[in-house]
């Protein structure tokens, strides 16, 4: 498959079909081609042909799509970032990626308005091993790390997903919830674009104002739903969220965190004609590696629900601490081995060497996830370390703590996820202050929240803050996280 060739071709075949809908904006295939060509022509004149990454800063606007495709045409990998991210975080990403440009949505608009199309520009060919996109994810020491995904890995993922979900030409409208900084969005964006489908983006303003959200959903004509289970849970709280709201919906594809059986049951009840799929895979292995259709029979038989079967050409290995395969059915670390595994973290050979290795000449990745195999399927059994999923966001607890530690009034800090029905519900920060000034706990909390929000994305700022004089200590002399968590009950 040649992704760009396919998408460009729709400008001829279906010029007026809508490629992307987002918060009142609409972008047709004809517009996508003309505008991404223009942007690519501009970038190729402004930058050397060195394959340097370009940061694209925005939310779900159609200019993001134009930006992604424009960068690919100009021969540059792109790094999607949310405009709500603090400046400090953006700076760290730009420096780590050694990005040559930061394109904001406003800048893309300006370029499109003020630049003439360069009729001589030709797309720069992307080789299979060229990096297509780089997605940054939380790092345990406080700095995010950039996962590099090649054209080969992306096409491999698309071929599998298009076939498994019977996504055919000009017949799909995907409702996409995940932000572009989260690689679940790669599925909704590219699976719709390469098949002349429509992506209906759910924006953060709509999620903040549910009246708007349900209006968008009921006007979507969506045929496929791509989101985290958390987002499905939120929608299910609305009684009218059912097949009457989206009668065209034929399929749910959920990934990013464990799918609870009660969410699966409720979705099948509210959308009896739709298929429900559960998928699993870290960003380091291109969106998803395993999947399975969740039926009533599967729900009745398994708890937790399976994450399914690996994609063709990729294998899941379950390894013990010594890096050897465990006996059948036993628990161990999930290792992903295949062409969908990333080539590593950009400009971090140290982190890459720790997480990636080779098995039988193919790239392999230590997921840090516990798992086991049963009945030919893979099951996820939680994290080996302190990484969590909070409402679908992947967060290293160490990332938040490291960013709290550098704040002026923080002597020590421990962050604890509060669990509800076996999933992280919210975060609580326990902070030992350097100076207990005359300010109230509330004022201190608000000040710390404000300072932390200047360093990390909003979803990483704990909801509650507690200020003990000291931490309970484990026999190893470390802060006792379990005891701290118990004080909340």
């Amino acid at each position: 498959m040649d992704i760009i060739e396919r998408i460009d071709n729709w400008a001829q075949v279906y010029p007026e079909r809508v490629a992307h809908v987002s918060g009142g904006q609409r972008l047709t295939y004809k517009e996508l081609k003309a505008q991404s060509d223009k942007l690519a022509g501009y970038l190729s004149q402004a930058l050397p042909n060195d394959g340097s990454p370009i940061v694209i800063l925005g939310h779900k606007q159609v200019e993001m799509t134009i930006g992604f495709i424009g960068c690919a045409k100009a021969g540059h990998p792109y790094v999607p970032l949310e405009s709500s991210f603090p400046e400090q975080r953006v700076k760290t990403v730009v420096e780590t990626a050694q990005a040559s440009w930061i394109l904001t949505v406003e800048e893309i608009r300006k370029i499109l308005e003020t630049t003439e199309e360069n009729p001589k520009f030709e797309n720069r060919k992307r080789e299979m091993e060229d990096v297509w996109y780089i997605i940054f994810t939380s790092g345990s020491t406080g700095n995010p790390k950039g996962v590099m995904i090649t054209r080969a890995s992306l096409e491999n993922f698309l071929n599998w997903t298009l076939a498994e979900h019977e996504i055919t030409e000009a017949a799909v409208t995907i409702i996409g919830q995940a932000p572009f900084t989260f690689d679940v969005s790669i599925l909704d964006l590219y699976c719709s674009l390469v098949q002349a489908g429509t992506l209906v983006s759910v924006t953060k303003d709509e999620i903040a104002n549910l009246k708007e959200l349900f209006k968008t959903l009921s006007n979507s004509n969506g045929t496929m739903w791509v989101s985290t289970p958390s987002f499905a849970r939120l929608c299910l709280m609305e009684p009218s969220f059912n097949e009457g709201m989206i009668p065209t919906l034929g399929r749910f594809w959920l990934a990013g965190e464990p799918l609870a059986p009660e969410i699966a049951t409720e979705l099948l009840k509210r959308f009896p004609k739709a298929q429900l799929w559960n998928a699993y895979g870290p960003t380091e292995a291109t969106v998803a590696t395993t999947s399975v259709q969740i039926t009533k029979e599967i729900i009745a038989k398994y708890n937790p629900l399976p994450i399914g079967y690996p994609m063709p050409g990729t294998q899941i290995l379950i390894h013990n601490k010594e890096g050897k395969p465990v006996a059948a059915g036993e628990r161990g670390e999930i290792i992903i081995n295949g062409p969908n595994v990333s080539i590593g973290y950009i400009n971090r050979p140290d982190l890459t060497a720790k997480a990636f290795f080779a098995v039988d000449g193919q790239r392999a990745y230590h997921t840090g996830d516990w798992g086991r195999c049963q009945d030919g399927m893979v099951f996820y059994d939680g994290r080996i370390d302190f990484q969590i999923k909070l409402h679908g966001y992947r967060i290293e607890i160490g990332d938040i703590e490291a960013n709290l530690h550098v704040l002026p009034n923080v002597q020590d800090a421990v962050v604890v996820p509060v669990m509800k029905e076996e999933r992280a519900d919210h975060l609580v920060a326990f902070v030992i202050l350097k100076n207990r000034t005359g300010a109230s706990d509330f004022e201190i909390m608000q000040e710390l929240k404000r300072q932390l929000a200047e360093r990390v994305p909003e979803y990483m700022v704990p909801r509650k803050f507690v200020f003990p004089a000291e931490f309970p200590i484990t026999t190893n002399g470390k802060a006792d996280r379990r005891k701290l968590a118990e004080t909340l009950q």
Partner: protein, 81 residues
């Protein structure tokens, strides 16, 4: 428990601070005390506590921006019978 007391208890529980009681006009969203998910959960919890049928999709964010507005909303609904 009275309507305001029930609401303030739930709000304290969700936000982790008694400031919602001390300042009834505090903006829960601007002060980062409630996010979207917590808001929906709060709507569900309160509609159950008061045995009222409230669908999250009917609610304008503005109507729920402060503790006082939430109290007014429920007292009005209770009075309307």
């Amino acid at each position: 428990m009275t309507i305001p007391e029930t609401i303030l208890k739930e709000l304290e529980n969700y936000t982790g601070t008694d400031q919602v009681r001390k300042d009834l006009n505090i903006n829960l969203f601007e002060e980062r005390l409630l996010d979207s998910l917590a808001t929906v959960e709060l709507i569900i919890a309160l509609s159950e506590a008061f045995s009222m049928d409230i669908s999250p999709g009917e609610i304008d964010r503005e109507l729920w921006a402060t503790p006082q507005k939430i109290i007014d909303y429920f007292e009005e609904r209770a009075n309307a019978g």
